[in-house]
């Protein structure tokens, strides 16, 4: 997730967060609804990849998608290939038969997975979570929920930074962290302990800090950052949403088999 503020908003980053959210949601819906592997891949290559390129994060996007997808892809290809019954046998391995139909099922599944992953990854790469939260809060999402989501997303970088400090501190006391498994296991409590304990302690003080910023105040709130929304974007969102719903309806009614 973006933890640093963008220096100059690129094309995609200048879009309203809800537009970005709608885009990826509809892409995910299309990925789940369309009946053939090629159609689903077209969503990935024709919608998500260009968006990532426009957002100047194509490299990170592709790396993340492929890295997460790979293990699933491999197991899908193997399992579906060997265990889906079908007439066209591609090869024999001992008593097991690898079918074309199985391979096709695996490819379709993988494509759908890829689009889902791509949608989530793209959203994370091109949207600042606090901008998204601001947009949702402006439309009625309770402040508290928005806060929980934003801080939950910050947890990983915060934990990473703290984990480094903790690792340094414990190594300086003679804790070995490299070597046999038993050595590493012994290092678990001294490394994870401070992280969890101090995070729990932090909760109370964090709550006080929030109160000190009038977080629970009822009444009008303003925003330092104005989120630019344009008519064309609003129109686009409605169109996309309708298209997405239409696809889902088509899937349920027309394309039952896939």
């Amino acid at each position: 997730m973006k933890a640093e503020a963008p220096r100059r908003p690129s094309g995609v980053e200048a879009l309203h967060p809800l537009t970005k959210l709608t885009l990826v949601l509809v892409a995910a819906m299309a990925g789940a609804a369309l009946p053939t592997t090629l159609a689903v891949l077209a969503v990935f290559l024709g919608l998500l990849v260009p968006l990532a390129a426009w957002g100047r994060c194509l490299g990170a996007f592709l790396r993340t998608c492929l890295r997460v997808l790979l293990p699933f892809f491999v197991s899908l290809v193997l399992i579906q290939g060997f265990f889906t019954p079908g007439p066209t046998v591609l090869m024999h391995v001992g008593p097991f038969r690898y079918t074309l139909e199985g391979l096709q099922v695996a490819l379709l599944f993988s494509a759908r997975l890829l689009v889902g992953l791509g949608a989530a990854t793209l959203l994370m790469l091109v949207t600042r979570p606090d901008a998204l939260m601001r947009a949702l809060v402006a439309r009625g999402l309770p402040n508290q929920i928005a806060y929980i989501v934003v801080t939950a997303l910050q947890i990983v970088p915060t934990f990473q930074a703290r984990a480094r400090s903790i690792l340094d501190a414990q190594r300086s006391r003679g804790l070995e962290t490299e070597g046999r498994l038993t050595v590493r296991l012994r290092a678990f409590a001294p490394l994870v302990g401070p992280l969890i304990l101090s995070s729990l302690m932090q909760i109370e003080e964090r709550a006080i800090a929030l109160e000190a910023r009038a977080f629970s105040r009822t009444g009008r709130r303003t925003s330092l950052v104005a989120l630019r929304d344009t008519r064309s974007q609003m129109f686009l969102r409605w169109v996309l949403l309708l298209a997405g719903l239409a696809l889902v309806a088509a899937r349920l009614v027309l394309w039952r088999a896939a």
Partner: protein, 278 residues
């Protein structure tokens, strides 16, 4: 601006009172220091003045605390926050975590207060300038050092322009230059905006130079209240655990050797020490 009468407080499930009968009155624009040994009740007093006691910590509270026109026991903390600000002890946990840049972090409180965006930006930038953080405006708050985070906490509460500002050891992570800057900012607020400021500290030298009034807490009681010099001079003969500046100790040692007249009031600052010794 602040009135405390008969304040007595027990943290939940404790026998010993953390505050044992405090009576206190502070005017608008005063800059007041609070000293005492660890455990004497300094942090507890800070929480009591700002409403976290009793609203946040529970426990049993007797007596009355009024700050910026609010009865602290009756007004919920979210409403108090606009008028009574708190910068508390641990700098690492005072970042809200809701914002991704230092500037937005400082503006966060103002957003909650419904301040208009233009005024908000101006106030936030001013607070950052006052605490020397304007170059870090676009950084993520989590990448700041301990000292920078402490200054950020001060800036964030300052920007809300409360009428009363309570700070619990606000310079603990700061180097001498940062400490000086913090004290100067606070003095400026007290003088120009008539903000009532209460801060707890261990750094006696700085308090002696900047505050007009010093309170001493000992075992939950207020045992001294007056100008820094007379309070700290008295403290050397008391078991309060307050300590003393080296100026005080040097002259005290000289007095023991008969080099300084017995009745002389011990100095707390350099100027006072030189005056006594010449």
């Amino acid at each position: 601006m602040i009135t405390v009468s008969g304040l007595r407080y027990h943290y939940p499930e404790t026998d010993r009172p953390a505050l044992d009968g405090i009576d206190l009155s502070i005017e608008a624009g005063e800059l007041v220091g609070v000293v005492g040994a660890n455990g004497a009740g300094k942090s507890t007093l800070c929480y009591a003045l700002t409403g976290y006691i009793p609203h946040f910590f529970g426990g049993t509270m007797e007596g009355e605390v009024k700050a910026a026109g609010h009865d602290v026991r009756r007004t919920p903390v979210s409403q108090l926050a606009a008028d009574v600000g708190l910068v508390f002890h641990n700098p690492f946990n005072q970042i809200s975590g809701a914002r991704y840049t230092v500037l937005e972090e400082v503006a966060f409180g103002l957003e909650n207060l419904g301040v208009e965006p233009q005024a908000m930006r101006a106030r936030a930038l001013q607070a950052l300038r006052a605490t020397g953080l304007e170059d870090l405006a676009e950084r993520s708050p989590f990448t700041l050092s301990g000292g920078e985070q402490q200054r950020l906490a001060i800036a964030a509460v300052m920007a809300m322009q409360p009428r009363v500002l309570v700070l619990d050891e606000p310079t603990s992570q700061l180097d001498p230059a940062g400490t000086r800057a913090a004290f100067e900012v606070l003095r400026g607020l007290a003088r120009t905006r008539e903000t009532t400021i209460v801060l707890t500290e261990h750094k006696l030298g700085w308090l002696a130079a900047f505050v007009d009034r010093l309170l001493v807490l000992h075992a939950g009681r207020l045992v001294a209240d007056g100008p820094p010099r007379s309070v700290l001079a008295e403290a050397v003969d008391q078991p309060w655990g307050v300590g003393a500046t080296q100026f005080t100790r040097a002259v005290q040692a000289a007095r023991l050797r008969g080099l300084v007249a017995e009745g002389t009031m011990l100095p707390v600052t350099l100027e006072q020490a030189l005056e006594v010794l010449r």
